[in-house]
């Protein structure tokens, strides 16, 4: 039987590198060992499938090509997060969705948004330079930032600017002239003729390079002069020290601990400069391999010591809760309802508020979103008919949990080995003690009591961290 500390350590890794893990999964990972688990997460074997798309196709075909409505795309993605056996691949896709934020509010084509996700899954842990090339050819992105309107004779700066400001170097590392020149270099990078919606319906978009619409004049970008094309710009960007720093700080902020918001990065020091240096070294020495940074990061002491130092994002709250309670392991008929749940908490998947993504950390919390989080978790973990909840109750019963102290401790363990402060602990204990010992003779009432205790643990301030 694995000791509690290794389980808690593994639960931390799986919250960050995935969407939590069931007790059975934790046991398997602990048996395998920490570093071996990191390797499996980074390089999952072929026989460990992502979300079961064949099953979705059979029961919910509409959500594979949701058209203009985000909701089917959202529950499609949520189903992937809950059921994938390649959790880090899915988490990395969520990371890139936050950094390369593309929104259906404008794209109006969720089919293309899902196609972008497929790209994030495929290239997300690979080489950053290649990732940027793929991103520059991604139809949803081209349309989102108007590069299909970026012409040889009419330059549109939207993509060029955000590529520098938000996707690579960050503000203040380039001039307005660089923005202009980068935009010129990407003229002709477009999508094949977008057919009108009527009467053709939504038509799959494809990348197209129009040499005749490309400005092949001389350009000077960050000190490099020549007939620069898009890939040349990316080559230059990838080598910039500002890029390594910006991307690694994003990875730290997403996987390790909450940083200040991105616009403050030019003026505020990193939360942990030594950690960031380690990640930057891994990035540069590997030739910009994201995998290398992830490996260094997950195996580091700064990561292992960073338990509960991030406010969970709404997508993490929803996916980890549903995974824990065992809901939607198959596409149940009510699966469309899970699409907008994270939206209610302030994160509308596939539809970020802007190209800057979401403000994260403490900014996830306001009185409305806090209520939505607490109520969502409570409604699920207190529902004893859900398979994951009844498994937890069975586990607690078979472990002979009897006293109020044992009930509180077991509930904290099953909610991710949550560590709570002394005050919260004594308040939960007072609440549990008021009802005395467990009475397992009345199994239904005992189950209800466990479910309610899980709900109250989910309502603590501590549970808002992941």
């Amino acid at each position: 039987m694995p000791n509690k500390e290794s389980l808690a350590q593994m639960a931390h890794l799986m919250r960050r590198a995935g969407f939590g893990a069931t007790r059975e999964e934790l046991d398997r990972y602990v048996a395998m060992g920490y570093e071996a688990t990191v390797e499996e997460l980074i390089d999952p074997p072929q026989d460990m499938p992502a979300g079961n798309m064949a099953l979705l196709l059979r029961y919910m075909p509409g959500c594979l090509l949701p058209g203009g409505v985000p909701q089917p795309g959202q529950y499609n993605w949520m189903f992937n997060m809950i059921t994938t056996k390649r959790p880090l691949e899915e988490k990395v896709a969520l990371f890139w969705h936050q950094v390369f934020a593309t929104g259906n509010s404008k794209v109006d084509n969720c089919d293309q948004m899902l196609e972008q996700l497929v790209m994030f899954r495929k290239f997300g842990m690979g080489n950053y330079r290649e990732m940027l090339v793929e991103l520059s050819k991604n139809p949803a992105m081209l349309y989102w930032l108007d590069n299909n309107e970026n012409h040889r004779d009419a330059v549109n700066e939207n993509w060029g600017r955000e590529l520098l400001e938000l996707f690579s170097m960050g503000v203040s590392n380039y001039t307005e002239v660089d923005v202009r020149e980068a935009s010129r270099a990407f003229t002709g990078w477009t999508i094949a003729a977008k057919l009108p919606r009527q009467p053709f319906g939504r038509f799959p978009w494809a990348f197209e390079y129009l040499a005749e619409d490309h400005d092949d004049g001389e350009k000077t970008f960050l000190g490099h002069t020549g007939d620069l094309n898009g890939e040349d710009i990316i080559d230059i960007i990838a080598k910039e020290p500002a890029t390594a720093r910006f991307i690694c700080r994003h990875l730290y902020n997403f996987f390790v601990a909450d940083e200040v918001q991105v616009p403050a990065w030019t003026i505020q020091d990193a939360r942990d400069e030594d950690a960031l240096e380690m990640m930057i070294n891994a990035f540069e020495e590997s030739g910009y391999e994201i995998k290398a940074v992830l490996r260094t990061m997950f195996n580091s002491d700064f990561f292992k010591n960073a338990r509960y130092s991030k406010i969970k994002s709404p997508a993490e709250v929803v996916a980890s809760t549903l995974k824990m309670v065992g809901s939607y392991q198959t596409p149940e008929p009510t699966i469309p309802d899970i699409g907008p749940e994270s939206t209610y908490m302030g994160q509308s998947l596939l539809d970020p508020p802007s190209v800057e993504g979401w403000y994260t950390g403490q900014e996830w919390i306001n009185s409305g979103s806090l209520l939505a989080r607490i109520n969502f978790v409570a409604d699920r973990v207190a529902n004893t008919s859900l398979p994951g909840v009844s498994a937890i109750i069975g586990h607690i019963k078979s472990n002979g949990v009897n006293s109020p102290e044992e009930l509180v401790e077991a509930s904290l363990e099953h909610m991710g080995f949550l560590e709570v402060g002394d005050e919260t602990m004594s308040q939960l204990l007072d609440h549990a003690k008021a009802e005395g010992n467990m009475n397992w003779n009345d199994e239904a009432a005992a189950g209800t009591r466990v479910g309610e205790m899980l709900a109250l643990v989910g309502a603590t301030t501590e549970y808002q961290f992941g």
Binding site: S105, K106, Y143, L145, D146, N148, E149, H151, A154, N156, E157, N158, R161, E165, V171, E176, D258, P263, A264, T266, I267, I311, Y344, G346, S348, P353, S354, V355, E356, Y359, G361, Q362, E363, W364, I365, N366, S367, G368, S369, L370, L371, A372, I374, N375, A378, D379, A382, G421, E423, T424, Q427, L428, H431, A434, E452, A455, L456, A459, T461, E462
Partner: protein, 375 residues
């Protein structure tokens, strides 16, 4: 100043994404309008003429009606120097009044703090929508965020009355202030308490509300209807905030822009009609802004990020009309192809704070700025 004893109230309606000033209040007699907008302009006969120079874009009819009643002030050339042309940076500047550094406090949050320094009412400021705009964020200032007024409360899933009451007691104890629990946890605790108290108070608003006014079916109209309900319930809310998006019309502007303004204009008309039907609204000023205007010359399908923009104030006590100068559209007067702002937005905040709320604006807007006499 309002003539009644009612407390002044502001409704901020943020036009997120960068509304196209040149295509909103249109200098239709200027040949440079159509010259610069070969792809994205409104036809002369569609533009709603205000005078012999300016007109509202075609779907602003409901706003024009209010304008004709003298209730709409239009502010020209609003912005700040050296526009970064970034949505986020620009929105941050409008929200924090800090063009030179990254600010952490929002101006409307600071206003809420001045209005309710002892935090007597957790509903002094409410955002209607998901999350909070930075304008309302000031550490230690409670601001409610209501996405849907009809379903708002803590642990609403526990149906057993006695169990729910015990759970709420525990919740209250767990979220009470504690010493030394860390900044983020302190923030969580105070937010949780505010949510609980606010939910308890605000639930009366939909119960008390009845109205014959029909709001159109749009997200902004739904938020404005929620705002009307809370205002009419008299819960002491002084700052209502909401937004409509996305005005980021880089492409397809000819189709998107009219729909955006139709939803906004119709929502505003219904909102004021509703307040007036209840004999209310004379203490309410609605304020509309966007983070920047858009580039003067179109890009063949839409318009890129620009600088100077237009803002509006609407209300019974607003002195309607045109304020300020429309910036020159001549090529030699543009800056990087954009209209140059000639009026600092912080002057509008200053006017609102001093002449509507009767407070000293300096600590709220971080400086002294020229006021406009629209109140």
């Amino acid at each position: 100043m309002t003539s009644t004893k009612k407390d002044p109230v502001i409704v901020v309606l943020q036009l997120t994404g960068g509304n196209d000033y040149f295509n909103t209040v249109i200098p239709y007699n200027d040949p440079l309008y159509v010259d610069n907008r070969p792809a994205v302009h409104y036809e002369q006969d569609q533009i709603i003429k205000i005078d012999d120079q300016l007109g509202f874009m075609p779907t602003m009819g409901p706003v024009k009606n209010l304008y004709d009643q003298g209730k709409v002030a239009v502010f020209h050339g609003v912005g700040y120097p050296d526009s970064p042309r970034s949505h986020f940076r620009s929105m941050d500047i409008w929200h924090t009044c800090e063009p030179d550094k990254v600010g952490t406090e929002g101006w409307a949050g600071r206003l809420a703090r001045e209005l309710d320094p002892n935090k007597e009412n957790v509903l002094t400021a409410i955002n209607f929508g998901h999350g909070l705009p930075r304008a309302l964020v000031v550490p230690g200032v409670p601001v409610a965020a209501i996405s849907d007024l009809s379903n708002y409360g803590v642990l609403t899933g526990i149906s057993d009355v006695s169990q729910r009451s015990k759970a709420l007691d525990l919740f209250q104890r767990m979220y009470s202030p504690a010493i030394g629990s860390g900044m983020v946890t302190d923030y969580l605790r105070s937010t949780g308490m505010e949510a609980m108290v606010g939910a308890d108070i605000v639930k009366v608003a939909p119960e008390m509300y009845s109205s014959s006014v029909e709001y159109p079916a749009s997200p902004i109209a739904a938020h404005l209807k929620d705002i009307a309900q809370v205002h009419l319930a008299g819960l002491g809310t002084r700052i209502f905030y909401t937004q409509h998006a996305s005005f980021d019309t880089h492409a397809g502007e000819a189709a998107a822009h009219p729909k955006l303004w139709q939803d906004v204009s119709e929502g505003i008309a219904a909102f004021f009609e509703d307040l007036h039907a209840h004999g209310e609204g004379d203490n309410v000023v609605m304020y509309l802004f966007s983070e920047f205007g858009r580039r003067v010359h179109d890009n063949g399908s839409g318009t890129d990020h620009g600088a100077a923009g237009v803002a509006f104030a609407i209300g019974d006590n607003v002195k309607g009309g045109m304020y300020g100068e429309y910036p020159s559209r001549k090529a030699e007067d543009l800056e990087q192809g954009d209209l140059v702002p000639n009026y600092d937005f912080r002057g509008l905040y200053t006017t609102l704070v001093e002449d509507h709320f009767g407070l000293d604006a300096q600590p709220i807007v971080n400086g002294q700025f020229e006021k406009l006499g629209f109140l």
